[in-house]
Amino acid sequence: MNNLHQLAQRLMALDDRITACMKCGLCQAVCPMFGATGMEADVARGKLALISNLAHEMIQDPEAVADKLGRCLLCGSCQASCPPGVKIMDVFMEAREVVNAYIGLHPVKKMVFRTLLAKPGLFNFAMRVGAPMQGLIFKDSKDTQGTVCAPMLNFMLGDRHIRPLAKTPLHVRHGSINERCPAGGIKVAFYPGCMGDKMYVDMAEACLKVLRHHKVAVYMPTGLACCGIPALSSGDVEGMMKQMKVNLDLLSQTMFDYLVTPCGSCTATIKEYWPHYAQRMGGAAVGQAREIAAKTMDINAFLVEVLKVQAVEAAANAHKVTFHDSCHLKKSLGVAAQPRTVIGANPAYKVTEMAEADRCCGCGGSFNLFHYDHSRKIGQRKRNNVVDSGAEIVATGCPACMMQLEDVLSHNGDAVKVKHPVEIYAEML
């Protein structure tokens, strides 16, 4: 696709959905990016107008539009509060795909999505080679969150305070797990997600511990690939489909009742995007993706709805936990009460709500890599709300949010720990 007219024609497929935007501007209230910059081109109304203008050949600069589309966390906050219910996320995803097909994918992204994330073996190798070397590069930030910073790599990572990679990823510790399900029992496929496998391994271990406690049989094959959301949000549908294919093949080898993940973004991707993009692949993938999507649950929802975990009365000296609603978990999946119940199941903790608990924390996956300054600014608002709540711990159901929260809290020198609700529950078992 090399001429603007063709680009415009492909975008016209989105015209009906874009016209549904009544330009009320109410998305300004919830958009984290608009909150940080106050620029109309950063809010959904502005982005939709630009896509429409490109489709109607009223702007001749696809690079500029691509740049604007990239200034977005794909958090879905706009869509969740849009009065006419415009399918904003679908429009953004498809527009990114079309525009990127025209201008080409950033070479680094291409390498990461097509090669690294689609080839679990290679990704794991790179990470394992990387992990022991971290000591040389990263320096302890001496904070409550246990992050490190990388003065030597500042040019690449910026001033990020991130968790060190685990010395041993989850899948190496456990190898392939495929437990037998006793009659009448429940069997789940546990999908730890990239961050659960490589960074938040303790969190993933807590999930396995909880599943064992409830006598749930676990299937966790080695060789699972990324869920595909980073590639998809960069408009790399081909990369996403490669990753999905690896996963579908592995997950279709064994029978299980539910697929459970501790990551809101993975859950949302598997449930919403796998079936959608499997249609394009055709063949067996269509049925596989549909079936798996129907069985996929966030782990908090699984604990509460299937295993009937309930909140109990908090002890007198219970630790205060505030809960951050990750965008994918609450706005895409409607999971908000369950993680709070999971925290409340441990009497040593009680939930204290913060202001704007469901406002985006500013991570947004690869958005963080390319727009770190904005990400930090958005994160600061979240940090202020966390600290104002007076909680000792902030819990959230998405590892990407955990990473973002640790980064901002660490930078502010706050003594607030970041945990996954399941870690809190697992402590009492």
Partner: protein
Amino acid sequence: MISQALIKDFEALLGKENVFSSEADRQSYSYDSAVLRPVVPALVVRPTNTEQLGLCVKKLYDNGIPMTVRGAGTNLSGGTIPDNSDTVVILTNGLTRILEINVNDLYAVVEPGVVTADFAAAVAKKNLFYPPDPGSQAVSTIGGNIAENAGGLRGLKYGVTKDYLMGIEFFDATGEIVKSGSRTVKCVTGYNLTGMIAQSEGTLGVISQAILKLVPPPKASKALVAVFDDLQNAAEAVAGIIAAHVVPCTLEFLDNNTIVRVDDFTKAGLPRQAAAMLLIEVDGHPAQVEDDAAAVERVLKDNKATEVLVPKDAAEKFKLWEARRMALPVLARCRPTTVLEDATVPRSQIPAMMKAINDIAAKYKLEVGTFGHAGDGNLHPTFLCDKRDHNEYARVEEAIDELFDVAIKLQGTLSGEHGIGTAKAKWMEKETSRGTILFSQRLRRALDPKGLLNASKLVGI
């Protein structure tokens, strides 16, 4: 065309990050919430303090460049669409300071870019109340509210934005600062320029600061919902409530089509046969609220309400009011384009107006859903269409022409709260008089000799 030198000047004044000259950025300030053709401005500038705001205005005036001030861009009449491609848009969302909330003297001083809901929340934190609550309050700015004299759900009892405007500071077209009104309840120093700036739609000056009145919050409130199988009965109930000397803070209305559409979407089990639903809320001192609610309930029953529901608690009220909250979102989902009107008639004329709306829609083969503020006769007939279908859209325009004719005949007005902008400018003379237009134009020309401030809006210049 704006010169590179001037762009550099603005960058030096405001910082590069507050001057938007790229095509993509400029295009995103070419529209607002009105269904009108966009116009791309030449440049967009964002002052971050009021001194910069004045300097921007002066610089533009000196260079003879047209200017349009923009808050959140949510007005429904085209007030922030640039007049032409030479226009510079001045954003106020860099001016968001609440300068003072005075709990003893019951006023606040704010910059124009403060978001209405943020302001109301800050005031509520100090246990005071700022009542104007336009449906767009989560994003609209105080400057935009003043310039449109925005109303809201509480208009009947609490009035509209202008009723809370005690004083104002604004820059005239040349960049000179003008001050009017004060922090005192009484002030007759000079002309009432404060009143003149309310609903001036960015045509007389650029608001840089406002002094707003605050009131003590009501101690209690109570909600009621009533269902009618005849519009006339609903209208008589509205009149009856006022005649019983009860002034509810909210008195909202939904018509049959809106009820059916909302019920289709929410499956909430709304009365699909009903001709109208009224949603009423009374507030004030607890004892008074009980008395008022009882009186309202009596009036509703006397006027043949087929059902009267009194929610027991906040949760139940929230559920019952869902229908009102969902009215616009649901109607907006039905078709690609939603044209939201706000012709307003004296309360007693609501049945006549409703009949006219439905007759006109039938005549032009259009779907319309009507909801709105029954207490003040401010209806929002919402036409559902597809602006890409030129034939259909032409019929919408004709229907609206006819609608305004009826509103004026019923001694009502073109616009209760959404403003004139360019959308309704052509009907102005019909409602007022030739003299009104000429007077307003002369006023504008005297104040803005180069005709630079939002020139095509309202009466034109």
